[in-house]
């Protein structure tokens, strides 16, 4: 984790109110920080939402990011994760003419399956660690995916 541009995962607990997401993203763009991915959803039975932000930077930059996030008035907590469980989902569209059996087998190896079959296309889903999702997407390239969508990572500290 010492290298200059290491990947980091930050979770932010914010009051679920208007424009809170822009406050977060404005902070990143205004101060020149990167967002690799960002997911957000309300925390059940509370007035808070949880954001998971994947970013990169040196220890000093990450420290600044977490401090600056903390300074935003609607931010309750900021965690920079070290030991965490991380998952990301991807949906991939293939033509039905591809080898569906192969695709289904591959999906199974990455916690996924075929979730929709249409007249012309099938949609497959995988949910795994972001690195493994990268890997999966590389492998399925040969089945000519028509469209790929990734959800961005979500994470929980162990």
């Amino acid at each position: 984790m010492q290298d200059e541009n290491a990947r980091r995962v930050i979770s932010v607990i914010v009051v679920n109110e208007a424009s809170v997401l822009s406050r977060i993203t404005d902070l990143f763009s205004g101060r020149g920080y990167n967002i690799t991915s960002l997911t957000v959803a309300p925390i059940p039975d509370s007035r808070y939402s949880r954001l998971t932000i994947v970013t990169s930077g040196s220890i000093r930059v990450i420290e600044q990011i977490t401090k600056q996030l903390h300074k935003l008035i609607p931010v309750l907590k900021v965690y920079e994760h070290a030991d965490l469980v991380e998952k990301e989902m991807a949906l991939i569209k293939f033509s039905v003419s591809e080898n569906i059996t192969d695709i289904a087998t591959l999906c199974a190896a990455y916690n996924g399956k075929i979730v929709n079959v249409g007249d012309n296309v099938i949609i497959a889903m995988v949910a795994d660690e972001p690195k493994r999702v990268d890997n999966f997407l590389k492998i399925i390239n040969k089945y000519n995916p028509k469209e790929i969508v990734r959800s961005g990572a979500v994470a929980l500290e162990r």
Partner: protein, 565 residues
């Protein structure tokens, strides 16, 4: 109590003890202005530009220590105000800026005078609100005042659609605030403070690095005591001028790009930096890797994000400077002032080698003389505002400041046009002091319409225009770093400043000699009306010393050695 949103704004301002606000009416804020017309609890000062309203509120806040309030309309009213809001954000000035917005039903339709105000102010405010229901107004305004003035202060913007100011709802300002996500940390960690004091006692060449946070936390007198008890020399940032009195033996001077030789050398040779309410701004540190290279760093600040942002702190202390300095004072017996006598001596030597001075070697007056002279004649009875440029640096270098909140200037954003409206706000807050604005021939034109405000409201600001017919600071850089290509900085074509002042009902003076200057200043102070004193100064005078941008603090360009006449 069932009242309109506009009435709520008035009631909230009264409840906050506001006595003066600055503003400019317009369509979307008319309901609030209608209520202002009906009330007598606070003064409204009509500026002649929204930017000036915000700068005046800043000046008012800086001089009084209270939250400044500005009131403006939507669209261009708001965008004009943005420079002032950004200025307050950079200098941590507590403001509540209330703007009108088009009615809720028109938001997002590109309506007349509609702009996404909270979208724009988000990045230059401490916090902002778009109020969509009048029943939220009590809470929002109460939070706005609390957030603006607590922790690291800053501007809070409240945008209120016109139909919300008309809406009748329940108003109760006695509500308890419940800001679960905002809890500024004001008390420093006692163990860290003890460790820091032990480090100071072990240091051989420690230095106090005093910043504007001391002024914000009203801790100047505690800091004066700490400096005195420890016998440790101190440098001030631009924002901290007046924290120590100019005649304090332990005050070296200002440090930074235009700091004194002794201050910058002391900062370069120290073995322990004791930073109080500072943020290691680039204009202070010069090249970061060379800044206080062999020193440990104690950093006290209320904003955790300021600590270790640029310079790593060995002893980080998050807390209000006043609380922390009071705790340090209790441990001051750990420190033996005699230990630093050799260090104090070497700083005196630096100062003797290259004192902060200037040469009176030109036919025209020297700007530094003018500033020193005002200091001699008015000293403590004046509050000093400035615009931005050479005159600003000369003021910071040469005015004999004796108290905090005496010096009001745009530090972080460096806003030309700040000085005059700010000085109007200063005068409104502090009517028994003379309000001086040192300005330049470039800056004064950026808000000279405020002559009208000052004349109308009998706020007799004395503007001393140091006129070198140049946009002087840029000209200085062009001379030094652009091979004298003075691109677009020659301001030879100018208005008649005397007539300009007179046209608005003020008084104008054009001054070429020392005698004329003394007479003009005396006359302006006695007549107690708004004045322009235009002083024709040496055209090519540079601000020295100077650390070239990005250079190390100890590599200063210095004043040429000459006998001072």
């Amino acid at each position: 109590m069932q009242i309109s949103g506009a009435q709520m704004v008035i009631e909230a301002l009264i409840a906050e003890g506001v006595d003066t606000i600055f503003g400019y009416p317009g369509g979307a804020i008319m309901n609030v202005y209608d209520e202002i017309y009906k009330q007598n609890n606070f003064k409204h000062i009509l500026t002649r530009h929204e930017q000036a309203a915000v700068h005046a509120a800043e000046g008012y806040s800086k001089a009084s220590g209270k939250v400044g309030v500005a009131l403006i309309t939507s669209g261009p009213g708001f965008t004009n105000a943005v420079t002032g809001i950004a200025d307050a954000y950079m200098d941590s000035i507590p403001l509540v800026v209330i703007s009108g917005q088009v009615p809720m039903s028109l938001i997002g339709t590109d309506a007349f005078q509609e702009i996404d105000a909270v979208g724009i102010s988000r990045s230059c405010t401490k916090h902002n609100y778009l109020v969509t229901d009048a029943s939220d107004l009590a809470r929002v305004l109460k939070e706005a005042f609390y957030i603006a003035s607590s922790g690291r202060p800053g501007p809070v913007h409240v945008d209120i659609p016109k139909d919300v100011t008309a809406q009748i709802a329940e108003f109760d300002y006695s509500i308890e605030l419940n800001l679960e996500t905002y809890k500024p940390h004001t008390k420093g960690n006692p163990r860290q403070i003890k460790k820091a004091m032990e480090a100071i006692s072990k240091a051989r060449r420690p230095i106090f690095y005093l910043g504007g946070g001391i002024v914000n936390s009203n801790a100047a007198y505690e800091v004066r005591e700490l400096v005195k008890k420890t016998g440790i020399p101190a440098v001030e940032t631009f924002m901290a001028r007046g924290v120590l009195s100019h005649d304090d033996d332990l005050l070296i001077s200002m440090l930074g790009m235009h700091g004194s030789y002794a201050a910058n050398m002391a900062m370069s040779e120290t073995d322990l930096v004791i930073g109080l309410g500072v943020r290691f701004d680039d204009r202070v540190t010069g090249k970061l890797s060379e800044f206080a290279k062999n020193a440990g760093v104690i950093h006290v600040d209320i904003d955790p994000a300021s600590i270790s942002k640029l310079v790593n702190a060995d002893y980080p202390i998050v807390g209000d400077v006043k609380n922390v300095v009071n705790e340090m004072l209790e441990l001051s017996s750990l420190i033996n002032p005699a230990k630093y006598s050799a260090w104090r001596e070497s700083i005196r030597n630096f100062d003797e080698l290259h004192p902060l001075t200037y040469h009176e070697d030109s036919a025209r007056l020297k700007p530094q003389w003018v500033i020193e002279r005002v200091g001699e004649l008015l000293g403590d009875i004046a509050n000093i505002s400035t615009d931005v440029g050479q005159h600003q640096m000369w003021t910071a270098q040469f005015y004999p400041f004796s108290r905090p909140r005496q010096f009001i200037s745009s530090g972080g954003l460096g806003t030309m046009g700040f000085g005059f409206p700010a000085a109007i706000g200063v005068k409104a807050a502090s009517p028994d002091k003379v309000s001086i604005n040192f300005t330049g021939d470039g800056s004064i034109l950026m808000n000279c319409q405020e002559l009208m405000t000052a004349v109308e409201r009998k706020l007799p600001v004395i503007n001393i225009i140091l006129n070198n017919n140049y946009l002087g600071m840029v000209r200085q850089w062009q001379t030094l770093f652009y091979d004298k290509r003075h691109s677009e900085t020659d301001l030879s074509v100018q208005p008649d400043f005397v007539k300009l002042a007179e046209a608005f009902g003020g008084i104008g003076y054009r001054v070429n000699t020392k005698e004329e200057f003394d007479a003009a200043l005396k006359d302006a102070v006695e007549k107690n009306i708004v004045a322009f004193i235009e002083v024709i100064i040496e055209r090519l005078e540079n601000v020295m010393p100077m650390v070239p941008s990005g250079g190390s603090l100890f590599n200063m360009m210095l004043l040429e050695k000459k006998e001072k006449k």
